[in-house]
Amino acid sequence: MNFSDYFVLWVGGLLTLMIFSFLYRDNPFYKFAEHLFVGVSAAYWMVVGFWTTFIPNLIGSIYPPSVSWFTANPEEARTVIASLYDQMWYWRYGRIVPLILGCMLLTRLAPKASWMSRWPMAFIIGYAAGTNLTRYLQSDFVAQIKATLVPLIVFNEAGFSLGETISNIVIVFGVLSALVYFFFSKEHKGWFGGTARVGIWVLMVAFGAAFGYTVMARISLLIGRMNFLGSWLGSVF
């Protein structure tokens, strides 16, 4: 192991213990680690966004020769620049629009000029609304209804299948009853209330499954950290 490996192992080990110290009670070590995490992660996202998207997809597109500043191999830079020039010029220069909108978004940091951030916000909202409307309609609405339209009596190669029949009945009536529970325009009374009650039970099973899986997930993450601490201590002793 070289110096940087030791650095990573030791700093990582100490920071892990600092976070775990919260389990005893809140303390300055935990607060230190927590605040450090916030600062490092915010900068991490900025740096990654800058080098992966801002430079190649914005600056490189508007002014392709800039690519050569960030590439070690000049030959490489030349081919990339040539391919960028191949793109339709109006779309290439069109990227000035997100540059301007992006700068306007930053006006949120200055309260007096923050009204300007409404334009990029409007773009973001328009984009999210336009894509979500179509994608949720296709994947989470139409496709789900289609997938629920299944036979309630199932025959397979071996003849009548009791297991699949029961499963399909539970799926169809489970979805319907849970949807009835979500329908608040009518009072949950009589047969409607009874169906809604079944809907609650179906939802409770789903929440129970979700709880079980959540426990599994959290334990797995703890195992990962303990594994790391084990390898850290293993390197010491």
Binding site: Y44, N57, E76, Q87, T131, A143, A217, I219
Partner: protein, 288 residues
Amino acid sequence: MTFIEKMQAIDRRIIFLLIALAVIIPMVFKLVIPVRPSPIVQAIFDKIEELPSGSKVLLSFDYGPATVPENQPMADGLARHCMIRGHKLYLMAVWATGEAQGNITIENVIAKEFPDAVYGEDYIQLGYKAGNQGLINAIFTDLKGMYTTDAGGVDINSFPMMKEVNTLPDFDLILCIGSGKPGLKEWVQFAGDRGDIPVSGGVTAVEAPLLYPYYPKQLLGLMGGLQGAAQFEAALVKKYPQYKDVSSGAVILMGPQTVAHLVIIAFVIIGNIGFFVLRRREKRARTE
């Protein structure tokens, strides 16, 4: 204060200690428990297996260090299987932390176990781009418009394996390892359903139950959490026993996972026994 009352008011730090021990002790004793693949995990294995060698598989790393114990074995397992089958593997990330995780898979699996694999011909790291689902939407119609270079800044058109790839529908299979939004759900919505492309992958156990409605029509198969990753490793070893030693990252961790589950179950039972005993006592006291 009775024993039951004392147990109900137990200091939570004792519970913390017990759960830590439940994880540490099986780790020290290297408790290994056999794992069997479930149909929903086996479906992913079968799909990769049945694709003709040389198929184009996109593997998106949409997670970060926080969920590595669950997600990394999934990514490693899928990459290993694709390389065994001779598929062309395209690595990318919709999460800013994903590129670094993809590099770990390249380093630990592809470079170590498949030294003959050539970068740019057998696998490529496209890296991360910002935009979440906007990125998936952008590359759906023009991948090279967004990825003008690979992650290392090399011209994308200079790689032989990029010659036949221009849009997402050019891929034979999309695999996503996710731990939140954007993740597998967005790949189903913005790529799979839109372009009728087979989508599959693995997610953290927290997210897995939410994706079951997509299975099996919109989602070919699903690995949920560490258990899902361990099941995939088991499926791989069953078919390719020579990978038993390397395909065990998740299986090894299932020992402590099992013991910790048992401890949690014990907590629920003890907690409820105490609750019912005290409630009965209260009722009795009220009637008297």
